[in-house]
Each structure stands twice: as C-alpha cells, then as structure tokens.
Amino acid sequence: MLIRGVALLAACFIIGQLSGETLGRLLHIDANVGGVGFAMLLLILAQNWLEQRGRFHPEMEEGVMFWSKMYIPVIVAMSAIQNVRVALSSGLVALLAGIIPVLVCLAVMPLLSKLSPKAA
C-alpha cells in the first residue's frame, strides 16, 4: 500500500515534468515551464478522485507524506550545494541586481494581496 502512494506521487511527478518540457518546446524555449506546478495539480486532483471513489487508502497517504516531511532536509541539502562563493564574490552589480529587485517586489506585495479574495 505504501508503495502505491509513492508510485502515485511518482506518476504525477513524471507526467508533470513531461508536460512542462513539452510546453517549453511548444513555446520554443529551452526550459521546463511549470512542470512542478502541473504535477502538484495532478496530485491534488488524483487524491480527490480516489477519495470520492473510496480507493484512497490511509497508507497511500503515508507514502506521500514521508516525502512531504523530507522536504525541509532536502532544502537544507539544496542550500548546501549552491554556489555561494561566486554569489558573494561576483561584485557589486550581481549583489545589487540580486537584492534591489527583491525589495521592490516586496513593496508591491501588499497591493497585489488586495486582488485576491480573502478566505472567510
């Protein structure tokens, strides 16, 4: 049962990645466009679909939840393989072009938040 959950996650992941790559090719850009996003939507839809049919076993959820809980450790490992040395030594242009746009985007964040209806 556990492996079914992992397999469901893997299926959504692969289909999502393929969709992202395909969309990238159709748009003539060498990048994966939203592969992770498609995979997430698929997983949510698949979960709903299985639940409605009573085919969603709690142990399947555990197979997915394991990875969900491994998420922060994976992110810690990811930060440990970034090229921090180059980022810190590439000079002022890189530092400014990395920092100032983030600050500007932060400043418009409250404006955009008004666009979305708040959950009751």
């Binding site: 996650l9 748009l27 592969g35 997983l43 990811m78 090229n83 890189a94 072009a97 938040s113 666009l115």
Partner: protein
C-alpha cells in the same frame, strides 16, 4: 585510511542523509537554546547549509558548494533538482484546490508583475553601473529574475560569458536573500495565508528561495508558494529574450 573515503563516496546519498540530520538536529537545539524558538530551527538549518556551501566553495574552488568535497558528494543527489521537485510536489497532498482556483487570477498577475518588475529594476541597475549594450542590460535584468532565466536569456541574445556569470550570480544572490529573508518579512507583508503565499511565489519566482523561505516561515504555505513560483522561470525565459529584449533594444541601440 583510503578505504574510509571509498565507503563514504560509495554510499554518498546515505552520508548526505546523516549529515543533514545532524545539521537539522543541531539547528533545532540552537533555535531552542539561543533564540527561544524565535528563529525557527529550519531557518537556521537552511542558513547553515548556505554556510557549508560557502566553505565547500572556498576549500575546493568548485561550483557545487559542499558537494565538491569528495566525501560529501552525495549532497549533489539529495539537494539536486530531482529530489527537490519530488519533495515539493509531495507537499501538494492535502492542499486545497478551492483556494488555488480562487487565487488563480491574482497568482497570474503576480507572475507577470514579478518578472517584469525584477527585469526592469535589474536592467536599470545594469545601466547605472555603466552597461550600454542591449544584450548585457537584458541579460543582467533577466538574472534579476532567476539564475536560470539569466543564462538562458544571455545565450539567446548573445551576451558575453562575463555578463552571463554576473546574471547567474545575481539570481543566486536573490535566491539566498529570499531564503533567509522570508521568515523575517513575513509578518510585515501579511504572508500568513495560502493566498498571500501564492502571490509571494509569483512575485519572487525563485522556486528554491520561495520554497525554503516559506518552509522556514510556515511549512503549510509551501505548496501554494511553490505552485506559482514554478511557472516564473518559464515565463521569464519567455519574456526576457523576446518582448523585453526588444524594448531594451529600442531604448539603447541608436
């Protein structure tokens, strides 16, 4: 003693699990003892990861942070795109489709605002710092989006490799800043609900930075932020070498 290294290298992924576990444990301890849990343990752990990456880079002169140290090469797999994306997708389990649908429009708007605004500000900085040709200005502006958009754009518009390197560095600086800064600014920008997380993901766009920053803020927000952020790099790769490049060219190539 060589055989110890051999064993560690052969079982690289397991070594990475062990080291990450130790780092996480120490970080949670520090969070409790030093900051009274005011700074979350995960934030300290992620920051420690960045410090390790810096040390790895300085010691070996390589580009893959701690993974350039042979005994710790398993980090490349554990922290690589496959595991990262697999784990991000798994967080969608239990996320509310209703909220995603309701915030969809604001999420899309935030994507466009995020890409265009980052590009413009990055391009202005390039001009202020003395860059005059459209290709360099565009590439540095693209680097202000993410460290993937920069090199993709640079290659497309034919920028010099030095400028491409700057654009990658700018993107990395951005992702590190978002990683560290998110928990601290969250309170001031109302980043405490799924809708805000989706908009934040669209505005910032660096999937790794947004995902790590939200994880340190509130793990429940991760799927929503990651959902929009994952479209950002694609949109950036689409807009920067095309419409935005043409606009820059109109302004700077007399």
């Amino acid at each position: 003693m060589d055989y110890i290294t051999t064993v560690l290298v052969k079982n690289g992924l397991v070594v990475a699990f062990l080291v990450t576990g130790i780092v996480t444990y120490c970080s949670e301890y520090l969070s409790k003892v030093l900051t009274n849990k005011k700074i979350p343990g995960s934030a300290i752990a992620i920051f420690t990861g960045l410090v390790l990456a810096y040390i790895g880079g300085v010691v070996t002169g390589g580009t893959k942070g701690i993974a350039d140290i042979k005994q710790l090469s398993g980090f490349e797999l554990m922290g690589g795109a496959m595991f990262r994306d697999f784990a991000i997708v798994s967080t969608a389990m239990g996320a509310s489709f209703g909220i995603i649908k309701k915030t969809g429009l604001a999420g899309i708007v935030s994507l466009f605002v995020g890409v265009i605004l980052s590009f413009l500000v990055g391009a202005i900085i390039a001009v202020v710092m003395g860059y005059q040709d459209a290709a360099s200005i565009t590439t540095i502006g693209a680097g202000a989006c993410t460290f993937v958009v920069g090199p993709v754009t640079g290659t497309a518009v034919g920028a010099s490799s030095e400028v491409v390197a700057i654009s990658i560095a700018a993107g990395v600086v951005k992702s590190i800043l978002v990683t560290i800064g998110t928990p601290f600014v969250a309170r001031f920008i109302g980043l405490n609900n799924p809708q805000a997380a989706m908009i934040y993901g669209g505005l910032m766009g660096t999937t790794s930075g947004v995902a790590a920053g939200l994880a340190a803020t509130d793990p429940k927000l991760v799927p929503y932020g990651a959902m929009t952020a994952t479209f950002y790099t694609g949109l950036g790769c689409l807009l920067c070498p095309s419409i935005l490049y043409i606009l820059v060219k109109l302004c700077f190539n007399s």
